[in-house]
Amino acid sequence: MLHALTVLLLFQLAGEALSQLFGLPIPGPVLGMGLLFLALFYPPWVPEALRQTTHDFLQHLSLLFVPAGVGVLQHFHRVAQEWLPITLALILSAVLTVAVTALTIRALVRITHANAHGDESS
């Protein structure tokens, strides 16, 4: 677990450094994810410790968003004042985005037959 966490932090650090160095619009952790993904090809196997740690870590991913969520306290006033446009925009946009993304993928899968042997069941 200690080794795996060290690996994750090293890749995050590399991502942050790259992002800053080239002034990229992508944050360090997302770049770090890309770098680790590429690194996993050489050699093409994943150390068991890394697999186990990331699995356990990602099981409780939701927890990590709680502190930022509580930040709603800081904008109570504006959110209360404009609650109608904000609430409608957030709810409808979330529903539309999920639907449009999924339907576009499904339509393109059918067109390209990319998933001919796959498990698209409807």
Binding site: Q12, G28, V30, M33, L36, V70, I86, T101, T104
Partner: protein, 240 residues
């Protein structure tokens, strides 16, 4: 009585309290969620956030004081994002087969998220600053805040929209996907990731490791695409 007050004054300013109440609120939220057979409305993040907001309000604790302790949890978002590479690597075969449809879904979803949110808020009289701050709300928080700042929005307001969208997508997304009879795990995960970034990814991991892997991929790609498209779009259609 004064001793009790002294202890409170001491604890309220130490990071231990903020960290502990965050974990307790989440553990309780997660317990309720599981007891209710994972009913989407009883999302553990939602329960924990509501409970903590009420607690901070009731005790008059300012957010920065709370965050002193909660930051240790917040910090782990970085390495957790890096960790998403591992499940993605295990789904390489499916990724190779699906890359073109996923790319199409990504661009369509990214545009839908920004245009529909801004359009609907504009229609119902949202202020200009609210409109701009809404535009990047489906993107992972650090990128969304950066985009909002560039466009002239309020980064901290955007952060709230990002978290709310995350929770809403995690709650409503699976219902929408069930209604549309989308059963493919990669497609479900990807749609949740485009809509609800990391919170959608956390939800997708509860469905399957594959859904989670593709959701994490969608989150990363959507950050990239929105960061590139939104300034361009704002240039073509000026807000307000």
């Amino acid at each position: 009585m004064t001793r009790l007050a002294d202890i409170w004054v001491y604890l309220a300013t130490s990071p231990l309290l903020g960290l502990t109440v965050t974990l307790v609120a989440y553990v309780v939220g997660d317990w309720i969620y599981r007891r209710a057979n994972m009913h989407p409305l009883l999302n553990p993040v939602l329960i924990a956030v509501v409970a903590l907001v009420l607690l901070l309000k009731a005790t008059g604790t300012p957010y920065p004081t709370y965050f002193e302790g909660a930051q240790f949890v917040h910090f782990l978002l970085g390495p957790a994002t890096v960790a998403l590479a591992v499940p993605l690597f295990f789904n390489l075969g499916k990724l190779k087969r699906l890359w073109l449809p996923l790319l199409g879904g990504l661009v369509a979803g990214s545009l839908t998220a920004a245009v529909s949110a801004v359009g609907i808020a504009w229609l119902f009289g949202g202020s200009q600053q609210t409109l701009i701050s809404l535009a990047p709300k489906s993107v992972t928080a650090p990128v969304a805040m950066g985009i909002a700042e560039k466009l002239g929005g309020l980064p901290s307001l955007t952060a709230i929209f990002v978290i709310s969208t995350g929770i809403l997508g995690a709650v409503l997304g699976p219902m929408v996907l069930n209604g549309l009879r989308v059963r493919d795990q990669a497609t479900r995960g990807f749609a949740l990731g485009v809509t609800s970034h990391g919170i959608g990814t956390a939800r997708a991991f509860q469905e399957s490791e594959q859904a989670g892997a593709f959701s994490g991929l969608a989150m990363g790609l959507n950050a990239l695409v929105t960061a590139l498209l939104l300034p361009l779009l704002a240039h073509l259609i000026p807000f307000g």
